[in-house]
């Protein structure tokens, strides 16, 4: 589904990603872990096409297409979803209206009929249960006045409605209390399907207690220093990141 080769990217001339290699197949959940400043959010941002990042080398293939050639909205319409670390507020625009516009933009791109208000409402009702979303939040302006937990839950709710092929969750667990974390994780788990894939960017292992990854990658100084199965996350929890740094050569270099 996604192949990243020797990806170099940065911001304002400072290189942050220094040669990332990553292969994500349908049905897989990959966790990207690493200390602060290692480039985790940069990777998520580059995949989604954040305009402030410049790619200086490497290639990214998504569903057979050159992802880097696609505009951010085209990536979204092709099924790539980013759950934001800091979801953005849009005053005056109801969550429902926003999501309907987004879903219909994606459906139009796929050559599907746009949903009318009634059909859309029915879909919302179905997806609301997944993340225990309040009706009240749906009628309120996008993320405006939401608590940190509500914002993150709203991201997962949007993901449930938009039904992406590849979901990139950028530190969705940060700022969540344990109950919210459980709800968000349960939502993600319910959305796992053999045709879809998830990249979880996280600082802490605790999210991985609830969403069990197939692969764990440790990002250090812009390179994947170590990859492994879910047990790698536990080792990190126990030993920190320093022992990987000491091991020297990154595997992907």
């Amino acid at each position: 589904m996604l192949t990243v080769r020797n990806l170099h990217a940065g911001i304002d001339g400072n290189e942050i990603l220094r040669g990332i290699d990553l292969e994500v197949n349908a049905g897989e959940v990959h966790a990207i872990m690493g200390p602060n400043g290692s480039g985790k959010s940069t990777l998520a941002g580059v995949l989604a096409g954040r305009p402030e990042y410049q790619v200086s080398a490497g290639e990214v293939t998504y569903e057979g297409k050159n992802l880097l050639d696609l505009a951010p909205e085209e990536r979204a319409r092709e099924g790539l979803f980013l759950a934001f670390q800091y979801p953005v507020e849009i005053p005056g625009v109801s969550n429902t209206y926003f999501l309907k516009a987004a879903l219909n933009a994606i459906r139009k791109h796929r050559g599907e009929e746009e949903l009318d208000a009634m059909e859309f409402l029915a879909l919302m009702k179905k997806k609301m249960g997944l993340v225990e979303m309040d009706q009240d939040l749906l009628n309120r302006p996008v993320n405006e006045g939401f608590s940190g937990g509500e914002k993150k839950r709203n991201e997962i709710f949007q993901m449930a409605v938009l039904d992406p092929k590849l979901a990139v969750l950028d530190e969705t667990d940060s700022g969540l209390d344990i109950d919210a974390l459980r709800i968000v994780a349960a939502g993600v788990n319910k959305l796992r399907r053999p045709e879809n894939a998830v990249i979880l960017v996280t600082h802490y292992q605790r999210l991985l207690n609830y969403i069990i990854p197939d692969f764990v990658h440790v990002l250090i100084d812009g390179r994947i220093a170590k990859s492994g199965g879910k047990e790698l996350a536990l080792a990190l929890e126990e030993r920190g990141y320093d022992w990987i740094k000491e091991q020297g050569l990154p595997v992907g270099a």
């Binding site: 305009p51 951010p72 909205e73 934001f84 507020e89």
Partner: protein, 481 residues
């Protein structure tokens, strides 16, 4: 430069959609302003002597006045002798049906998406279409006649209903009110007159499409709406203008009078040519609009969406004279490229328990400059007057400006006056968030701006709200940096 900015600049470079000139032979007077010109206009219109005298009085007063310098706008000095004050499409007999209307004219309306035939069937809107100062088609007149509603061109009103016109003309905006009102009073060529008799609820939205066409012809419209006891009317004013190189002066006057328990809702969508990206051309829109809640429990609402014109200078206000009367002002004003707007409202509380609401949304993009200027005045006898004002500004890019000048003058201790203001900026992060959900940059800006303006749009009649949203999209295409 980010990709966002590139997209936005591409979009911003789009041309004004409605710039075209209709080739119709116009019956004009030479340029310049004098008593002679005013006499000619009055004669051409076959006006009675009192009307001519009224004009001349206004003109003589105008000569003693000076153009106001206080608005927060800049423009080259206007040469009032270089303007043509009368221009009418040349058709000797007034058409009785659409078939008789100059096909060229009808095509113009169609280009604007205002098909009269369609409107007659679909919207239930009676259209008094003003094309270069003279009404050329009026619809649904018979139906309105049955109810005693008068809806006609101003010239016709002067001929057919002189008593009503004499009674109310200038009673809200006196000819001496201000420089541009005085000018209008002297030279106005046509406009609309609307009278709703007691107890009648006007069954359809009354609508006039103004359109400025002949080159270098100032447009001086005059609108007078009277709602008698217990009457209700909703009036729509919407307009677009063809592309021009020289600035065109537009100085209209609108007067509304609501008697006891009457309600007038006046909605405007203004999309005159704003000038090109460098600020060349465009309409100077210097308008005086005022309503008088003359009776108890009366109510006047102004809703305006101002996206056009090079310069907008208008303060639709309400004089709250009757006890328990209500005045409302809902405004969206957009300035893009080199547009300038100095707009707001005046709420003059005179009666007891009078209430007013002001919601102003200013959007500045490009090098646009947007000022809100409002006056809330509570008179000595206005016991328990209430006002709530909210003025929000949205900035798109970093070359534009937003200013707020609220004036509050309270002379009664029981008054309660509230003012809230905010300024925000459309962020790249908002645009990116929308794009990441699959929306184009254009849709993202529309969505954000429409969210910002929601409180005003919901005051507009349905079809108008849709048009206003589209217009806003067109006006702001690509203005986020």
């Amino acid at each position: 430069m980010s990709t966002e900015q590139n997209t936005i600049e591409e979009l911003a470079n789009r041309e004004y959609k409605y710039g075209f000139v209709t080739d119709i032979e116009a019956d004009t007077v030479p340029k310049g302003l004098s008593e002679e010109v005013i006499r000619t206009i009055s004669m051409k219109k076959g006006e009675p002597t009192w009307m001519l005298e009224w004009r001349l009085k206004a003109f003589r007063h105008w000569l003693t006045m000076t153009e106001p310098g206080w608005p927060n706008v800049k423009y080259p000095k206007i040469d009032y002798q270089d303007i043509r004050y009368y221009s009418a499409p040349k058709s000797t007999n007034r058409p009785k049906s659409l078939e008789e209307v100059d096909p060229e004219l009808l095509r113009t309306y169609q280009k604007l998406g205002i098909s009269l035939e369609e409107q007659m069937h679909l919207a239930g809107v009676a259209v008094d279409a003003v094309f270069d100062s003279v009404s050329v088609a009026t619809t649904f007149k018979e139906k309105l006649n049955e109810l005693g509603v008068i809806f006609c061109s101003f010239s016709e009103a002067v001929r057919e209903h002189p008593d009503l016109v004499r009674k109310y003309l200038g009673s809200v905006v006196p000819p001496t009110d201000n420089y541009f009102a005085a000018l209008n009073s002297a030279v106005f060529t046509d406009g609309s007159f609307c009278f709703i008799p007691p107890g009648v609820r006007c069954p359809m939205e009354l609508s006039t499409y103004f359109r400025i066409n002949a080159a270098e012809t100032g447009q001086f419209e005059r609108t007078l709406i009277v709602a008698e006891e217990g009457a209700y009317v909703s009036y729509l004013e919407g307009c677009t203008a063809p592309m021009r190189d020289t600035n065109q002066l537009h100085a209209a006057v609108v007067e509304l009078i609501a008697l006891d328990d009457a309600r007038i809702k006046y909605s405007t969508v203004q999309n005159w040519y704003p000038g090109d990206k460098e600020g060349k051309g465009g309409i100077y829109n210097f308008v005086t609009k005022r309503g008088k809640c003359a009776g108890v429990n009366s109510r006047i609402s102004w809703t305006q969406v101002e996206t056009g014109s090079a310069i907008t200078w208008k303060y639709p206000g309400v004089i709250l004279q009757g006890d328990n009367s209500v005045g409302e002002f809902y405004s969206v004003a957009v300035t893009n490229n080199r547009q300038q707007a100095d707009t707001g409202t005046k709420m003059i509380h005179l009666g007891k328990n009078t209430r007013s609401t002001i919601v102003s949304k200013g959007i500045s993009a490009g090098h646009g400059n947007n000022s809100y200027r409002g006056l809330v005045s509570v008179g000595r006898n206005a016991e328990n007057a209430r006002n709530f004002s909210q003025c929000d500004s949205l900035l798109l890019g970093d070359q534009c400006g937003a200013h707020t000048f609220p004036y509050i003058d309270v002379r009664n201790p029981s008054a309660r006056v509230e003012h809230e203001a905010s300024t925000s900026k459309i962020g790249e992060d908002q645009i990116f968030y929308c794009k990441q959900r699959g929306l184009s940059a254009e849709d993202a800006v529309n969505l954000i701006v429409n969210g910002f303006c929601k409180e005003v749009f919901r005051e507009l009649p349905m079809e108008f709200a849709v048009e206003a949203q589209k217009l806003l999209g067109v006006s702001l295409e690509g203005s986020v940096g």
